[in-house]
Symmetry: C2
């Protein structure tokens, strides 16, 4: 018996820029010309059936005009398309058109497009450069930092995928103008969550500027976008040092995800998270981690953002309580919640532990009231 | 317009050990107990229909006895199974059995199993630990170093996949005893190739010990396995510094892969590579990079290894010449070959360029003669 040591220690630099602004196609083209993807001249653009005509075609024209060769791969809009099958279809279409190692992938769309296209880019020819052009508030707030990509399968959401950092992300606020109002509001939930866990200042800003944000005014939209990136980045980066801090991004999601499932996806993710935030501030207030007044401010902000804060009548509340036990944080059969501490902070239950064990009876009480 | 910088520079250590020996299941179990996969107690074992009864069941028993929970996922043996569909089926079966983030993947088998299982491990829950227990000479020689994993699609071989370094590789020489003779011989082709490109000493050793290797004697089998790992590691590592050296692993593969395809896979990969090596030493001798005598020694060694060195009658030689143009090394419509220089070295055509442009007429001559 003998052993051979394969030494593979190295410095990896996956750093990238997020460009935040209005109508960024010319910026994208000039970045390409400045070498964003090296000498690569062939770009597979992936988008969905809604975004194609709204933005993708125009962006593609600008890229083609700059001398790149490009094909557009379009799938039916919606979470239902975020599957291994859609990924395989696009791969086959790319291979059919002669794409091999020497290409890059550009995603244009929301989180469904970037999750799918980022995953595809990470496994096409064992990884080709990936650029993300984001067109939804949700993906701007939550999918631009962290490098997570994935698809859904019949038995699990976002479980098959990989970490794949993009070469660059463009957040085009201009595109939010065509978002259905419900989608825009839903995207605001993660923004509010970021303020709740990390920034009292951002929370105040949201209270004072919600109308201007929804009117897509430049300063407030850029401000919240930068803060979203900043907060998510700091939480995820610190977590890379194994601090477990990432858990705090689950604020509102324990109840939120359960409601989303029990509602059979009648509620959008952000709507469910908003109700989850409401439930969890009531819980935090009951346990003394925040004042009643602070809890009310969180609920009022969600309402101001056009989001629901009460559990809809059609939801079976007992089923909801049972559903809580499928949460990832459950340990030894006990429910655990991320709890807000005042506004802009979370409870650290123990060293590097950010979820707090909660008796089912207490959780049930809140759910029955809400 | 503003930009946000996501800084992601870090030191990554993917180093791992390759254990080389006879019947390594106890070693595997003791490594698990020593923390090879941390606290993980749930292992998905992936194997094929041949290896299941031969080795996988026994290894699984030893692991279960040590207190791990485990399921065996088996697919039909053969390259035809190395697909996205097989990967998806195993993923679904794992999810069905409750596998989530907290598991590891153990591949037991040859290169088909490790390519598929390594890819699956890299995308299951965005990456779970992967261990490879190799049972073929080919995968010992060629698939244990480099981290390449992939599946085939209707339009391309090994194109969808990723780099995923295993936690550890076990090369169990004992298992070679049950390999069909043709598979064993085929696996020897990459071993001979390694000697040809990098080690005159290993080449001499192969000339003198082929019978003992095929009798699976301990010293010669361990010697060639270590040398295979060493040579592949050094070539691949140097290539990480962008030297382009990896190209030399293509020795014998320009003609080899073309023959494999034109034969419609009647020839095994190693058999085709052996014929490719023969063609390419004739070419190198004709161009003065090696003596006739050296070329004869390479051909004689392949024959001693039980490998074909002539193009079979049924191959359409003109189709073969045309097929050469689908090689990845073709540049500006010109054929390029990796050429052996003496025994144990290759021609460096230019700085960091290891393929040499060859006139079609010269390549045709060799192919017509062989
Ligand atoms: N990777 C991550 O870190 C991360 C984080 C959060 C969410 N996600 C994923 O993101 C997805 C949700 O994101 P999403 O809400 O952006 O989904 P989405 O991409 O499906 O977009 C929502 C809808 O809006 C449409 N749309 C997109 N841009 C538009 C525009 N500018 N104008 C009009 N319509 C537009 C889409 O076609 C779709 O119908 C989920 O799959 C979720 O899992 C990923
Ligand atoms: N990842 C890499 O770097 C790399 C390098 C070289 C080859 N490969 C891949 O490896 C594959 C070829 O490898 P392979 O020849 O090991 O293929 P394989 O896994 O299909 O094994 C060949 C055959 O031998 C059987 N077998 C395996 N072990 C046995 C044993 N001990 N006794 C009896 N039968 C046994 C298998 O069931 C199969 O029928 C190809 O798909 C190729 O692309 C990958």
């Amino acid at each position: 018996m003998s052993t051979f040591n394969v030494e593979l220690k190295k410095v990896v630099d996956d750093s990238y820029e997020i460009e935040i602004g209005y109508d960024l196609k010319n910026k994208l083209v000039s970045d390409l010309e400045k070498g964003l993807i090296g000498n690569i001249k062939k770009i597979a653009v992936i988008t969905d059936s809604n975004v194609r005509d709204l933005y993708a075609k125009e962006i593609c024209e600008a890229i083609v005009d700059a001398g790149y060769s490009l094909d557009l791969f379009v799938f039916a809009a919606g979470e239902k398309s975020k599957t291994r099958e859609t990924k395989a279809k696009i791969e086959d279409a790319m291979l059919e058109k002669g794409y091999r190692r020497d290409c890059a992938i550009l995603a244009i769309g929301g989180g469904v497009v970037s999750d799918l296209a980022g995953f595809l880019a990470g496994t096409f020819a064992r990884g080709v450069p990936f650029i993300n052009y984001s067109t939804t508030l949700l993906s701007a707030a939550d999918a631009s930092v962290g490098g997570k990509t994935a698809v859904d399968t019949p038995l699990a959401t976002n479980l098959i995928g990989l970490f794949n950092q993009p070469r660059k992300v463009y957040i085009d606020i201009e595109t939010w103008k065509s978002l259905p109002q419900r989608e825009l509001h839903s995207g605001m939930a993660e923004t509010i969550k970021h303020a709740c866990i990390r920034s009292n200042e951002m929370f105040l800003f949201l209270e004072q500027n919600m109308e201007d944000i929804y009117a897509l005014k430049k300063f407030p939209c850029e401000y919240i976008t930068e803060n979203n990136c900043q907060i998510k980045y700091q939480v995820v980066m610190k977590d890379e040092l194994e601090s477990g801090l990432r858990e705090i991004l689950n604020l509102g999601h324990t109840v939120g995800r359960a409601i989303e499932t029990v509602s059979d996806y009648r509620l959008l993710h952000g709507e469910a998270v908003s109700i989850g935030l409401a439930a969890e501030v009531l819980l935090a207030a009951r346990l003394g981690y925040m004042s009643e007044e602070e809890a009310d401010r969180v609920i009022a902000l969600c309402q101001k953002a056009g989001l629901p804060t009460r559990i809809p009548e059609y939801i079976d509340r007992e089923a909801l309580v049972r559903k809580l036990y499928t949460d990832k944080k459950v340990r030894d059969g006990k429910l655990r919640f991320v709890l807000q501490k005042g506004i802009g902070d979370v409870v650290e239950f123990g060293p590097n532990v950010y979820s707090t064990p909660i008796e089912e009876s207490v959780a049930r009480e809140i759910i029955m009231e809400l």
